[in-house]
């Protein structure tokens, strides 16, 4: 089966789809802010650490799909890493529960600067349906500063990928800067 699958892949081309276009406005504003700090240190490529701070696991299901051959985020210079210490980006889902608050703060502190935080899903924005519960402290920005939000319950993999691509755009040194280095 392995040979047949490989042969078919050669014949039909890859299952991977073209990357979604980045949102130009968001890219611009993030680029301006992170210009000085990020470009020299990170280069074109982001290491992502996913942290679930209280999700229902729906958001994780869709984040998982980013690694599949359909979206194949590694070709875009994005990869999931096993520790916040290796990460440029924290991809955080869920409301922040009281029981995960400390672990989220520690993961954030362990992520080296400069870092991005992307809050994924309606819960991560403001608590979503769980807003008002005494067991949560709110959305992700109630615990750590957030650079970008992705709407949806859960957001589609394409929507998450779009924001990540935007981060990369924001993170790419402009041509003149490259020349100077």
């Amino acid at each position: 089966m392995a040979w047949r699958t490989m042969w078919r892949a050669l014949r039909d081309g890859p299952a991977t789809e073209p990357a979604p276009a980045a949102d130009p406005l968001l890219a611009e504003s993030l680029a301006a802010r992170l210009h000085a700090a990020a470009q020299r240190r990170l280069g074109r490529g982001l290491a992502i650490r996913q942290v679930d701070s209280g999700s229902c696991n729906g958001c994780e299901l869709e984040i998982h799909m980013l690694g599949s051959i359909v979206y194949d985020l590694e070709r875009l210079g994005l990869r999931f890493v096993a520790s916040p210490r290796h990460a440029d980006v924290l991809l955080v889902t869920g409301p922040v529960t009281r029981n995960m608050h400390d672990a989220l703060l520690r993961s954030w502190a362990a992520t080296p600067d400069p870092k991005f935080v992307v809050a994924v899903g309606d819960c991560a924005i403001d608590g979503g349906v769980f807003k008002g519960s005494t067991a949560i402290i709110g959305g992700i920005d109630a615990a750590v500063p957030v650079d970008a939000f992705v709407r949806g319950c859960p957001p589609t993999p394409a929507a998450i990928l779009e924001v990540l691509c935007t981060l990369i755009e924001a993170n790419t040194p402009p041509p003149e800067r490259v020349r100077r280095i």
Partner: protein, 501 residues
């Protein structure tokens, strides 16, 4: 007196579709004693409210569902765990959320409560402000020469929900594993109180995102039973369609994940590609990839979009076209078999005493499937075939999951062309009542209970099968190497959010 006869002497409270037997403290104590002699009743769920503790038992031979409750007297009730060890986690959760103590309980350490909540117990009639600082968690001891402990989590290395695993290992062999959960506790049950069933259904749909359909069905059935309403036939059939798609999608993702944990990336790529294909077909057919909020009390909120049936059948056809090749690769890869065969074995006898349900049960000799026994909704009109294996290892769980994919695909091909015509939603009046609902999710049996007063939820509980599956994972990994834990864990895939509530 045997356990069942004892129950008949207790008061029957109105609850649909199963009356609730309410026991006094002494009747309950006699019932628990009788249960030690009687293995025919399997504990399937347990929870509480401010004044009582509730239990569900299932008699698998005849499909009888037994719903029994006991009054809590002075904060105490007789523990069930000496007769049914699977009650331990429920008793710890009941203590954390309602403050009722199980007298003679086997283990009363906190589970969901990490000492961080502002008022405890959060669901008690009168919670008190929590003024003490969180204490360090206490783990079960393991003693012996050369043992070391490996603390893992709550944030894990992969993309997975948070939980703390405390391994005690000798060299690379796991001697003891203890899972400490509760990190995802969102206070969901408290949020449901005072809401209409229609609004509260959004919480049921978000207890465990991977089982959003199955939990929504169980909740809707409980709310419908409380209001004495039957959903229209088209809604019942569509619920089956949603549930079987959810089952296939989860199994495809998990089988891929298990195989990937054995470092066989090619097969994982194919399984996950099929999962994505099916999710897109689902979005075309029903407007949402995971069908969140598609099931509501009274029926369903979405109909099949024009052309939706063909899209789903096409996705199933594409899967079927590659299925034999995938199966053959699984069968013929010695390197894969080396990792999955005789890894993470759950013995049939332990499975019998915990009744984990789902594919975990079916891989260890337990045939239970709520779609068949006692049945519900549209499944009463169709036959569901499920194989049972006895090996109980990772391989057996993979094979059962594969068989479930095939069977669910068959069911979809059977139901979709025969969808009854008609309405999608029945009105739920703002009445008072108590109802019980169940559904077979991809993990196994799900039980929901609601008490509605004047159209608002007064109390509710949502029971995921993971309550009885987590302790079995702890046992199944004993004697395995630490490096095989991801394989074992993925082959169980218990829900964290589902038990953290």
């Amino acid at each position: 007196m045997n356990a069942r006869t004892l129950l008949l002497t207790a008061t029957a409270e109105a609850c649909a579709p199963v009356p609730r037997r309410h026991l006094t403290g002494s009747q309950w104590a006699a019932f628990v004693t009788a249960l030690t002699q009687d293995s025919s009743l399997e504990l399937r769920a347990m929870w509480a409210d401010g004044v009582s503790v509730y239990t569900i038992f299932l008699a698998p031979e005849d499909g009888t569902v037994i719903f029994a409750s006991v009054s809590v007297e002075l904060g105490l009730y007789q523990a069930l765990s000496p007769a049914r060890p699977s009650a331990v986690l429920y008793e710890r959760m009941i203590h954390d959320l309602w403050g009722h103590t199980a007298a003679d309980g086997l283990d009363m350490r906190p589970f969901l409560d990490h000492g961080n909540w502002t008022a405890t117990p959060p669901l008690a009639i009168r919670p008190l402000p929590n003024l003490t600082a969180p204490e360090p968690k206490e783990f079960l001891p393991a003693e012996g020469e050369g043992l070391h402990r490996i603390p893992v989590g709550p944030v894990h290395a992969g993309i997975i929900e948070p939980g703390h695993f405390r391994f005690t290992a000798q060299g690379e062999i796991i001697v003891r594993l203890e899972a400490r959960l509760g990190y995802l506790h969102k206070g969901t049950l408290g949020l449901m109180q005072g809401k209409s069933p229609r609004v509260a259904a959004r919480f049921a749909a978000r207890l465990s995102g991977d089982s959003t359909v199955a939990h929504a069905i169980a909740f809707a059935r409980a709310a419908e039973a409380a209001a004495h309403v039957l959903p229209p036939p088209r809604a019942e059939a569509l619920r089956c369609v949603f549930a079987e798609i959810e089952r296939i999608a989860n199994h495809l993702g998990d089988i891929g994940g298990i195989i990937n944990d054995a470092a066989f990336a090619l097969m994982q790529a194919r399984f996950v590609w099929h999962r994505e294909h099916l999710l897109r077909a689902t979005e075309t057919a029903f407007g949402h990839r995971l069908m969140m909020d598609a099931v509501v009390p009274g029926g369903v909120s979405v109909d099949l979009a024009p052309g939706g049936e063909d899209t789903i059948i096409q996705a199933l056809d594409t899967l079927a076209a590659e299925w034999d090749a995938l199966l053959a690769t699984y069968d013929n890869s010695a390197s894969l078999a080396d990792r999955v065969v005789s890894t993470g074995t759950l013995s049939a006898s332990l499975a019998a005493s915990f009744a984990p349900g789902g594919f975990i049960g079916r891989a260890s000799g337990q045939a239970a499937d709520l779609r068949r026994v006692p049945g519900y909704g549209h499944y009463r009109d169709i036959d569901v075939e499920m194989p049972v294996l006895t090996a109980g290892d990772v391989d057996a769980r993979v094979r059962i999951r594969m068989a479930e994919v095939v069977e669910s695909a068959r069911l979809l091909r059977h139901i979709l062309p025969r969808l009854p015509e008609g309405a999608l939603l029945e009105r739920l009046d703002a009445v008072s009542g108590e109802g019980l609902g169940w559904a077979e999710g991809f993990r196994g049996d799900i039980w929901h209970w609601v008490r509605v007063e004047g159209g608002q939820i007064a109390a509710a509980f949502m029971a995921d099968p993971s309550w009885r599956q987590w302790p079995l994972l702890e046992v199944a990994v004993e004697g395995n190497i630490v490096a095989d834990f991801p394989l074992c864990n993925k082959s169980f895939n218990c829900s964290y959010s589902g038990v953290d509530l």
